[in-house]
Symmetry: D2
């Protein structure tokens, strides 16, 4: 049976609060029995979310920017190097049932934009790039702001229910 | 000598004013001796900008979403089918010296986000997705709002001068 | 711990013997505790190898040609739509520790060529595109012909041992 | 009007004869009024073919492996950085009306395989990866061996005529 995949997106550099949120988010994803997908780099939100999910015994997938498998987050179960650079962002989005954005800059914003475009619900964790942007993504696109990882996980659960998963 | 490429991004569906702006933008790009690059589809902002550039005798490049060369805008000089879907958005950005965004939805917003991320100046023509989004793209990223194609072309020229082109 | 991934490549159309080989190959991959990766389409070698692996309780990943998750092989655990068409072939290769080619045409041959180029050992199951091709791939590239799925699985195991996995 | 694009593929390292062939091939492409497309790196067959085409006043396009525009062949007119690594090989193929392969290893072989798969005729210049490979590419695929750049250009011209260009 197809596993439910939650994509956690965010920067390769993260401040302490954001890294903590990402780690907690990873833990909650694993505890809910969902699979974590991230950009898979060994830094920032990517490493933090993977570490959190592994602490809770979850399955983790990383879709890497680089060609080299060695540039993967520690403890990843499934390492998918692409060597495609930013072109791999669309894969992160399309492979996810729901996308969680833990702050981030241009790369993450491009993933949010594509998630809205391709009908993937987006939960923005402690991050608000503004309604003008979020509502411009697509007609009827789904997004929600969440203050804490707990709130975000609850919202993810609601979106999954709407999706019939 | 490497040609100066101006990328015009926007939706495959465009209202009349936006299509007119895109056409005028294409014309101004050609008149300035710049090469026009677009997503290359035969509809919306893509077709309109190509038509405008060709009316003024410019060189036009389309980087297609599809595998099939027949799904290209009319009058394109250089047709580059990718079959890569939205993954080709990053190519539109990286190949451009300056990006002009003529409204659009998620696809265009993802291109704006990546342009900011990869240091390509962005001119937003009659389109404002909000400062929260635009300033989150990257430290020191360059963007400007423009009300008309004439304003946009002037701004493009200034960015090119800053880039030493 | 990073899972060992064996990529099974082959056509979306397969004759009966090839489909049977692919199914048996999938089963052997699962029985050895390896993870199966394929192009993930619901036909030919892709579906057959996934079905075989699932019969033996293995973990299966599909990296899809298409954008649409519904165009995935039945019983896939992890569905990764790319919408990238043939550009996703390189992902199949880079994500695999060893590649098994079950016949196939141009798409599969491009994957074999890239596997040789990127240092992934290739086992050719009941398929011989010729030494002139196979040895041109790269200096010191590793490939082996195998007559049966059992031979192929044995060869995969030897390559994994050489790789220290 | 859409320009006729001839893709010249080959290694980033080239022996003297191959480099000379690539340069001469580039010159002949330009003299025939065709546009040259290559992988656009500043070395090997890529640089040589671009230099040849520019000597004859032709238009040249490079679709780069890298993100960085500075890693482009000298004298390229149109530089398209992709940052996609080997995933950009499919673009080289799809954008070409006819593909000329000037020797090369795995990367070039993957391009030949995809050209055969996507119906682009292939001319192999002083290079023979074997009929077992070439005929396995696709049913009815078109390829020809050529001993010299002059032979190759003649063959390209014949394929273009068959394609109605």
């Amino acid at each position: 049976m197809r596993k439910t995949i939650i994509g956690v997106m965010g920067g390769s550099v993260a401040d302490e609060k954001t890294a903590q949120n990402a780690r907690e988010m990873g833990r909650l994803i694993a505890e809910n029995g969902w699979t974590l997908l991230s950009g898979g780099r060994p830094t920032g939100v990517m490493q933090a979310s993977v570490s959190g999910a592994k602490e809770a015994g979850g399955l983790t997938i990383g879709v890497l920017y680089d060609e080299d498998r060695e540039l993967a987050a520690k403890d990843l179960d499934i390492v998918i190097p692409t060597g495609m650079g930013a072109a791999r962002n669309i894969i992160n989005v399309l492979a996810s049932d729901v996308v969680v954005a833990c702050r981030g800059t241009g790369g993450t914003l491009s993933e949010i934009a594509m998630a809205l475009r391709f009908g993937r619900p987006v939960v923005l964790l402690d991050f608000d790039p503004g309604e003008s942007f979020l509502n411009a993504g697509a007609l009827g696109c789904k997004w929600a702001l969440a203050a804490t990882p707990e709130d975000a996980a609850k919202k993810v659960g609601e979106y999954l229910k709407e999706l019939g998963r």
